[in-house]
């Protein structure tokens, strides 16, 4: 057992979040989730399944049953390396890799991604770097990652850093696009579109509720 692995907790039905499966299924192609036959092919093909707290098959079952808290707090979603082995083998054509990415996004939105857990930290740092400069600089990204998770690693990896430096593979110069303004406009427009979509959805729900009453 790894330090991050734990056993699933017993839950009463009243504790489950039954809106969660519907929310997750709203991702592009997400309805396929309900077609899962729990065959376990995904868990069998996943090269990382042995390290996960819940196997991919279980994550799908738990999502459909409304185990929102367990799913979003799980390490499974962060261990997915996006190799797409499960997605191409799935007999029901569920985009499992994209489903894992969707769960990562939800965990970050809700602020429940494991703190100081390197995978989540790297995702956030990478996101910020590209948002600001339009490009990522591997060396700086890795240094940031170590500083925020385990600074001792900077020392233990110093030898590799030195060897890369000698080969001209390590540079601390921050890469950037010229037209940074354009990147900002682009990303801000996506935020705006999302906000509009969210308000639309809310309005639709209110209308439906009113009609029901």
């Amino acid at each position: 057992m790894r330090e991050w692995q734990s056993w699933p907790r017993f839950r009463y039905e009243a504790e489950l979040d039954l809106r969660f499966p519907e929310e997750v299924a709203s991702m592009p192609g997400g309805r396929a989730l309900f077609a899962c036959i729990q065959c376990g092919t995904c868990s069998g093909t996943c090269p990382l399944a042995t390290y996960m707290d819940y196997s991919p098959r279980k994550i799908i079952a738990m999502t459909r049953a409304g185990f929102k808290e367990e799913v979003l707090h799980s390490f499974t979603i962060w261990l997915c390396a996006s190799c797409y082995a499960c997605a191409v083998e799935c007999p029901r054509k569920i985009k499992i890799t994209d489903f894992m990415a969707e769960l990562k996004q939800r965990a970050i939105q809700e602020g429940v991604d494991p703190k100081r857990f390197p995978v989540a930290v790297l995702a956030r740092e990478f996101f910020e770097a590209v948002r600001k400069r339009g490009r990522s600089t591997e060396s700086l990204l890795v240094l940031r990652l170590y500083a925020k998770t385990n600074p001792v690693q900077i020392l233990s990896q110093a030898l590799l850093g030195w060897r890369l430096l000698r080969k001209g593979r390590f540079s601390l110069r921050a890469e950037s696009v010229k037209n940074r303004q354009q990147i900002e406009q682009l990303l801000r427009a996506v935020d705006a579109a999302k906000a509009t979509a969210f308000i639309d959805k809310l309005a639709r729900e209110v209308r439906r509720e009113v009609a029901y009453r």
């Binding site: 990382l48 190799c83 082995a85 990415a101 010229k178 682009l186």
Partner: protein, 295 residues
């Protein structure tokens, strides 16, 4: 012939040998690659974990720039990095399949005074070499055949999954064909598309190191002299952590890991320095006459 070329962040940083060898070997085949102007990061896998729509928007900016820069009606954009190749192709697939993605991205591009008319073809260099230039044409240009060299061809995940655009998904063969055309032998290696661990090598080495170790161990067992890769992250993981693997598994793991374009360049007679061979941590050189030599 001339193509547009999208390097991506990795080929400008830790893995510049990939860029050097792609450019030099394509040049030796009389193909010019013109770098996409002011390209931005494709978003890679990490962006999808934070905001998928923004990752599509970032990729779409590159596609829009390619459309503007390519003079002919449907420009081809070559993406050597598997990560970039996948994200760019995935964005195209999603824009085609899901109207909501398409609408949002078009709106975002418009806000940034760009537009994309869906004419760009995103292709991997392996695809261009095998399906455009063709194996016979390449083998006719070989100057230093890689005779006696046993290569384990490693495709990694993202050039064949989830979209197998130019090769078989389960047992891809394009690189094997290419290597045999260069005079090398290819070893039968069933792990050619198994995950190397990707970015987990940096974030959770406890998990990443065994994944890469399995690949190298099997390649060594099958008598490979060198592993040829088509992805900067795979190359980095497989090469730079070999001493860590040796320590963790208490056996000597040492095998050169090169880009397939470096072997291509060597066979075409391109000088080693132009192919970035001096940047390898585990050195690999071809002695004259084609005999294998690695320290």
């Amino acid at each position: 012939m001339k193509y547009l070329y999208y390097p991506g962040c990795s080929l400008k940083g830790t893995n510049r040998a990939y860029e050097e060898s792609v450019l030099a070997s394509f040049h030796a085949l009389n193909i010019e690659l013109e770098e996409l102007e002011d390209w931005n990061c494709c978003g890679a896998t990490a962006y999808m974990a934070v905001d998928e729509m923004k990752s599509f928007a970032l990729a779409a900016r590159n596609l829009a720039l390619a459309e503007r820069q390519g003079q002919d009606g449907s420009p081809t954009l070559i993406a050597p990095c598997s990560g970039c190749y996948l994200v760019l192709s995935k964005t195209q697939h999603y824009m085609e399949e899901y109207s909501e993605v398409s609408r949002t991205i078009d709106g975002a591009l418009q806000a940034a005074r760009l537009s994309y008319a869906r004419t760009v073809h995103v292709r991997h260099p392996l695809d261009i070499l095998v399906n455009e230039i063709g194996i016979p044409q390449i083998s006719s240009k070989v100057q230093r055949p890689l005779r006696g060299l046993k290569v384990a061809c490693y495709y990694g995940c993202q050039i064949v999954r989830p979209y197998a655009a130019f090769d078989d998904q389960v047992n891809p063969k394009t690189m094997d064909h290419l290597m045999r055309a260069l005079g090398a032998e290819t070893v039968d290696w069933p792990l050619k598309t198994r995950c190397c661990g990707g970015s987990l090598m940096g974030t959770l080495p406890d998990v990443g190191v065994p994944l890469s170790y399995i690949l190298l161990k099997e390649a060594l067992k099958r008598g490979a002299h060198v592993v040829a890769t088509a992805c900067p992250l795979c190359q980095f993981n497989l090469e730079c952590y070999q001493d860590k693997m040796s320590r963790q598994f208490q056996e000597r793991v040492e095998i050169p890991v090169v880009y397939f374009t470096q072997l291509l360049g060597l066979a075409l007679g391109v000088p080693e320095r132009q192919l970035g061979m001096h940047r390898l941590l585990v050195p690999f050189t071809l002695a004259r006459g084609g005999a294998r030599l690695h320290a």
